[in-house]
Symmetry: C2
Subunit: 270 residues, 2 copies
């Protein structure tokens, strides 16, 4: 999503002011969160650093995790792309070579050896990368509720990991094919596969909601939220995607509404 | 590896007696483990079931985990392929449709919704699938040493997860490209990438060995062992792969020797 351009129509959003994003997000709480967290302070060396890119759904997972745990982190914006001043926002969507990233963002590449967001660096020296592994690290490093994996329940913990991966590997991958393919017939196939995976996911959700596991949030909610945001708005904008109206998608809609109301999730909406 | 045929030369191994496998493995402990675990007993309904295929490196991870924890499990062999009696062993390497698997192996598909090995079913009703998630589940379900993720160490636990994924996503993927590509130039590129990823991995290993983290095994060792076995023998057989002789590959070689001596690992060598 972040690194390639969906062909056709127009360029992907270059800022959160872009018309691509829903109007209600222009003054979104995410922008306020960023402004507040970017403000340097003398105590910043003592804070956990979040290396992120504002548009990246993977990085947003780590961001939600820190917000949920109430961590006093500092926000470090990384532009992983070559800059071309001719383009709006300067974003070329061409990944900078790792050597260039290393020169531009030495702290970041020390925390993320392949130069990909998200990553976190703790003042104690800990460095962790890969979105779901950052979420689990934050859960264990800040060992208090809300817990992203239910403590002492090996089965539920396994299912949380399985369904978090399912979001990336099944739902997101099919959505990405729908977005990138130019052939209408292949788009239709990808859309069908995407809907089927969404239904499989919905059937694994608790029936007493609102969250995936029920009354408590978990890593699965954190894993899906940034992507569902893009399924709705990027999908609607580029592909006229309208979610079906059936019990599975109604369950997902009530899940989306519940998550959107949660401050830690809302604080990351840009 | 298991599901497609490397083009050229000959078919992949159809049994552990195949010449593809190293002669020392013909009488391997893995075969004895299987024979012992397959023997039905009146108490089998009370045992954890391991759904596996003897040739599958992903399934072997779950198998090692159960052996390491000393679990009294029963071994359930799944042939995920269409059978053609004309072919040696009957293996076509064509995945059966999920409906057929459901009819043939109802218990298995209940434990693994996409019909992929490995999966485990606990007599208490727990069902878990996906290799690394089974390993973590087994670690938490049998809450005693050896621990596959070091207890109470969020950073080390994160790194164990990160480097376990690295095995699958970087080392194994490049090896697979080397194996499947027919163009010698592309094979050379894939081999270079594979060696580079192996060196990156080796540099992340503890220097005081023998295991990835040092004196104690972890999920990383379990994640890599089945693949390293295939890098050595399948790679050697099909592609004349010889591991370089440098500090990184010597570290990996000493790791391989230490793991091969460990009973739980050795018990899965087929």
């Amino acid at each position: 999503l972040a690194s390639e351009e969906p062909p056709g129509k127009k360029q992907a959003a270059q800022s959160s002011k872009d018309e691509l994003w829903h109007p209600s997000w222009v003054e979104a709480t995410g922008e306020r969160t960023i402004a507040q967290r970017l403000r340097a302070g003398p105590q910043d060396g003592e804070k956990m650093k979040l290396f992120t890119s504002w548009f990246c759904p993977f990085a947003q997972r780590a961001w939600i995790a820190l917000e949920e745990k109430g961590v006093d982190y500092s926000y470090v914006e990384i532009n992983p792309y070559e800059v071309d001043p001719q383009l709006p926002g300067g974003y070329t969507k061409k990944q900078l070579p790792i050597e260039v990233k290393k020169a531009m963002y030495p702290d970041f590449v020390q925390s993320s050896p392949r130069g990909l967001v998200p990553a976190v660096a703790d003042p104690n020296g800990d460095k962790v990368w890969e979105s779901l592994h950052v979420v689990q690290y934050v859960d264990e490093r800040f060992d208090h509720p809300p817990f992203f994996l239910p403590k002492g329940d090996p089965l539920k913990r396994a299912h949380v990991r399985i369904w978090s991966d399912f979001v990336t590997e099944r739902m997101q991958k099919n959505f990405y094919m729908l977005l990138m393919d130019q052939d209408p017939e292949k788009q239709a196939t990808a859309k069908g596969a995407f809907f089927a995976e969404c239904r499989t996911f919905a059937k694994a959700m608790s029936t007493d909601g609102p969250y995936f596991l029920g009354k408590e949030i978990s890593m699965v909610d954190i894993a899906l939220f940034p992507f569902w945001q893009r399924f709705l708005w990027v999908g609607g904008y580029y592909r006229g995607l309208v979610m079906p109206d059936d019990p599975e998608f109604r369950r997902l809609q009530s899940w989306w509404e519940a998550c959107s109301e949660r401050p830690a999730f809302k604080n990351t909406l840009v």
